[in-house]
């Protein structure tokens, strides 16, 4: 809005005096924004204030025992789980996005089906993923509760997210890049890999980092796929709980409120950090 519509404070008060409805609406709007921001600030503040005093070296001991309730094995599991899920879902998600944006012709029937199924996948609740992973990977494949079964389940869960963000990143690359590359005689594959992908990488990265956030925070999909063993895994086929599952276990046992505060703090800080990095990557994309 330009200066033409600028009014000083007294003029505003006068308008509101003449239009009480407007005043009420304005107050309601501001009130809800304050409530929303207030809830978030309160939640973060509460977990910080209650969590920091409960942090102790014991909580980060190398081995989990019922005495120290260490979260180190859970943190190790979370990192392994995240890497493994991304290892599966990033190539698949980026590959499908490349096909949808760069290869498929307009009006391709397959593209419509892929879009619909991806949308369906993104709406499925995590507990349904958990049951599906249990039935397919744990029971039918016979992998038992294992890191691998959990990672496969999570990989399918974050696939639509990676697909969508990659698609958007690829679409934001100007067509002139492609035309220039084709004009110089490059084939489609070379154009995609050497010309289109590099400027899209910050956008893809932002999506991948968001998926990391979802993987780190996921509980329901993992309880019946990766299990709840509180140890660092010996291999991909052994069970292990991630940090979020660890926290659920602490809460359901009901004895470890203090440790739960500390775990919540670690989870929250991790998620805030992940979001900040993702925003940073996305900003880099829009700048270029």
């Amino acid at each position: 809005m330009s200066n033409i519509n600028k009014r000083d404070f007294r003029q505003k008060i006068n308008t509101y005096k003449r239009n009480p409805v407007s005043l009420i609406l304005a107050l309601l709007v501001i009130l809800s924004a304050v409530i929303t921001a207030g809830i978030l600030l309160f939640l973060i503040g509460y977990i910080l204030v209650k969590g920091i005093p409960n942090l102790s070296l014991d909580l980060f001991a190398w081995e989990y025992t019922t005495k120290n309730v260490s979260m180190t094995p859970a943190i190790i599991n979370t990192i392994i789980m995240t890497l493994l899920s991304l290892l599966i879902s990033v190539p698949l998600g980026v590959g499908s996005a490349i096909y949808l944006v760069e290869y498929a012709r307009r009006g391709n029937k397959l593209v419509a089906v892929v879009r619909i199924t991806a949308e369906t996948l993104s709406g499925i609740p995590s507990i349904v993923y958990g049951l599906f992973g249990f039935l397919l990977f744990v029971v039918a494949c016979g992998w038992n509760y294992s890191i691998l079964a959990g990672a496969m389940t999570l990989a399918i869960m974050v696939l639509p997210l990676i697909m969508r963000t990659t698609e958007e990143a690829l679409k934001s690359v100007p067509d002139s890049y492609r035309e220039g590359s084709f004009g110089l005689g490059a084939g489609r594959l070379r154009t995609v890999i050497r010309i289109v992908l590099p400027p899209a990488i910050p956008g893809i990265l932002a999506g991948v980092i968001l998926s990391i956030g979802r993987i780190v925070g996921e509980t329901a999909a993992l309880i019946f796929t990766a299990g709840t063993v509180a140890k660092a895994p010996k291999g991909l086929m052994s069970s292990g709980r991630t940090l979020a599952v660890h926290m659920y276990a602490l809460l359901s046992e009901g004895l470890y409120t203090k440790q739960a505060y500390a775990t919540a703090l670690v989870l929250l800080v991790a998620v805030i950090g992940i979001n900040a990095i993702s925003n940073f990557a996305a900003k880099k994309l829009t700048k270029e």
Partner: protein, 282 residues
């Protein structure tokens, strides 16, 4: 040589694009193949409309859980939608630029906070508040609704905000020119035009709320009976699965999978109406 590489890579990309199709087919197959026979064995009416859930006596009626999911979701909508839409209006039309730069990432962060952390927050803050306000255990429909209402805020705000921003500026300007105030123009000219986008946001919020598991388990009380009031404990379909899957066997296990089939069908209907509204918008 180059040609062969081009061709194989094209096929490879095509195959990766099929992953999501295969995933949906597999999910449908495994859920239905395990759930439908169980529903058949229990009897459709006994299963969907049965009011008693007693796995030890082989009685599997999930009506209490279906109602539980619906009540809790409805409560979340009543609490979350008004605040969410008003906040979206603030973000799109009232917010100073500097504040927006802080508020937007904050709301995105809200969507990223793990549900188990929300659940913990609910247990430590909302449950005791309800105890002092209304007495009793503090766990129940109202508590779960408040917590879910908070959790669906970022979904509703995000979609409603972009819907409001998509309304042509001329609507707002025309209304201003006719002498309406800023608030009246936003509420009575811009907002009605963003109706279907906002509705899509609400539907997505419903999907989030009905599928939410971990936060609800912690604060809802989890009694598998039809709730008698908004303060009484309630068990949702999602909670039912997580609570009993760990030790369930045979028909009991299949009945839980059948519960997820019912949940899945709910979600499919919600998704379908979401994409229908989005398509109509275009």
């Amino acid at each position: 040589m180059n040609r062969i590489i081009e061709k194989t890579m094209k096929i490879l990309f095509l195959l990766t694009a099929c992953t999501s199709i295969i995933a949906v087919i597999l999910i449908c197959f495994f859920l239905f193949a395990n759930g439908i026979p169980a529903i058949g064995k229990i009897g459709v009416f006994n299963f969907l409309l049965g009011t008693k859930w007693k796995p030890t006596n082989n009685i599997f009626g999930i009506l209490p859980m279906i109602l539980g999911s619906i009540y809790v979701t409805a409560g979340a909508i009543i609490i979350g939608v008004p605040i969410g839409i008003l906040c979206a209006i603030f973000m799109a039309r009232f917010c100073p630029k500097k504040l927006y730069r802080v508020l937007k990432p904050a709301i995105e962060l809200m969507a990223g906070i793990p549900s188990i952390v929300y659940g913990f927050f609910g247990l430590m803050v909302i449950v005791p508040t309800m105890q002092t306000l209304f007495g009793g255990s503090g766990k129940g429909i109202l508590t779960a609704s408040v917590l879910l209402g908070i959790m669906i805020l970022p979904t509703i705000i995000g979609i409603a905000e972009s819907a409001i921003r998509a309304v042509p500026e001329s609507y707002y300007e025309g209304s201003l020119a006719l002498g309406a105030t800023h608030e009246r123009s936003v509420f009575f000219a811009t907002l009605p035009a963003a109706k279907s986008g906002i509705l899509a946001g609400i539907i997505l919020g419903i999907g989030r709320a009905i599928g939410e598991t971990m936060a609800v388990i912690i604060v809802a009380g989890n009694q598998a009976v039809i709730p008698s009031g908004i303060l009484s404990g309630v068990r949702t379909m999602t909670a039912n699965i997580v609570l009993e899957m760990g030790y369930a066997a045979e028909l009991h296990r299949d009945a839980l999978i059948a519960t997820s089939v019912v949940l899945f069908v709910f979600i499919l209907i919600i998704n379908l109406s979401f994409s229908l509204i989005k398509r109509r918008e275009r």
